[in-house]
Amino acid sequence: MNQLFTHKLTKGLALIGLCFCWLVGYYLNKSSQEQRLEPYMNGDNLTFESVTANIYSINDQASSYHLLATEAKGYGGIIQVIIKTNTAGIIDRVILGEHNETPSYLNKLINKKYLEQFENLPITDPNYFGSVNAISGATTSSTAIKNAVLLAAEEYNVEVLQQEAGQFKPTIMYQFGLAEVTAIALLLVYFLVRVIRKVPQKRMQQFATLISLILLGFVFNQSIGLSRLVGMLSGWLPPLAINLAFYLLLGSTLVIILWKKENFYCQWACPFGGAQNAISSLTNANKKMIHQLTWIPKLFTWLALAIAFLFRSPELTDYTIFSALFDFTAGDFIFILLAITMMTSIFLHRPWCRYLCPVGEIFNTLIAIHKAILPK
């Protein structure tokens, strides 16, 4: 009884701690538009005037120009974009402000000179923005930046030039392809096993995770990472149009948690789980659970969430190793963690899922909450 009370108290305090971190982070990281734009105002005897809340007219001895502050939802949350235009409305520079995008994706934009595509485009004419192409491999981030520029252009034309509203529409192209088909197929396999009892569950599960490993993992690099979940919990929903597979996986997992109290994603659709399953079945890894280590994912997940909420930075504490395996893009620490995990998979069954994964821990916590509320 005493131990049960201690468990409940710990869980309650952990939840309150997370809420506290979220609130502190929310209020501490709010900065005014002027503070944001200050680093980009250079020149002697500079005077500036606020045209709207997001547009500033700057005058110094040499020149006068406009600074437009804008933002859009990217992969890891809000990307702030600053646009410098001359008084004729020609874009001089597009500068990235604060953001939480994965550095490797952002490097792709920089290496392929994505921001330079906007230079010398007239902010007054929507037709020119069609020539700005998204960067493959960093589609979410590049589309977000373009949408941010389009939003700023709309505000500039409506508020400053008194033009008609609705000329600059952000690019919304729903991407439904093989990744989405795979996510639906995995869901269908799950339902098939649940409806038809004679279908061998273990075999089908292995088959599903193998398909997920090949298609969702290596081909499309679609997995539910911690940074995305933290971003969503912080209120930054990734754009639906280009993240359909992600929403399908997450949505179906949440529905199945509510319906069957089962972790669909980890057991049936996680590509990294598939990789560990493949190694385990090849090497006959030990399937016994080391119960003394089950506190590790709980502690790590709590710390990762608390720090990410506090600094409002989903990427800060994301230690998930999926992109290192499927996209070969990660920092040295993540690569070392991946190497250790892969080698441990030879001896232990799904070591990452059992002793480290924060995503699985979040889903398992939701199942535990559901079971606590509705035991039957």
Binding site: I279, L282, T283, F335, A339, M342, M343, I346
Partner: protein, 103 residues
Amino acid sequence: MLLQSTIMGPLFWMLLGIIQLAFFVGLRLFFKDKGLQLSWFRWSLVAGWWLTTNITVAAAFTLIGENESRAGTYFLAFFGIGLLIGGAALWTFIKKPIKPVNK
């Protein structure tokens, strides 16, 4: 340089050949000790795995020697882990008894 030397170079390769031979003789005794009987197919898998491991180590250290230490380390880590997993899978496979052929 050892490998470019007229006398030491050939001696080095001879020594390496002896080590390779000793490895396979030792491996044969190890399998015998474990009570494992290997078919020609299983032996060729083992030899293939060993050859790949040798090439991987050689290639990685060549890269490191050519001042590409980062590339060498990544190469060794990437293929080395793959080979470790492959080795563990191979060990699981050769431990399985060979099915008798019905004549």
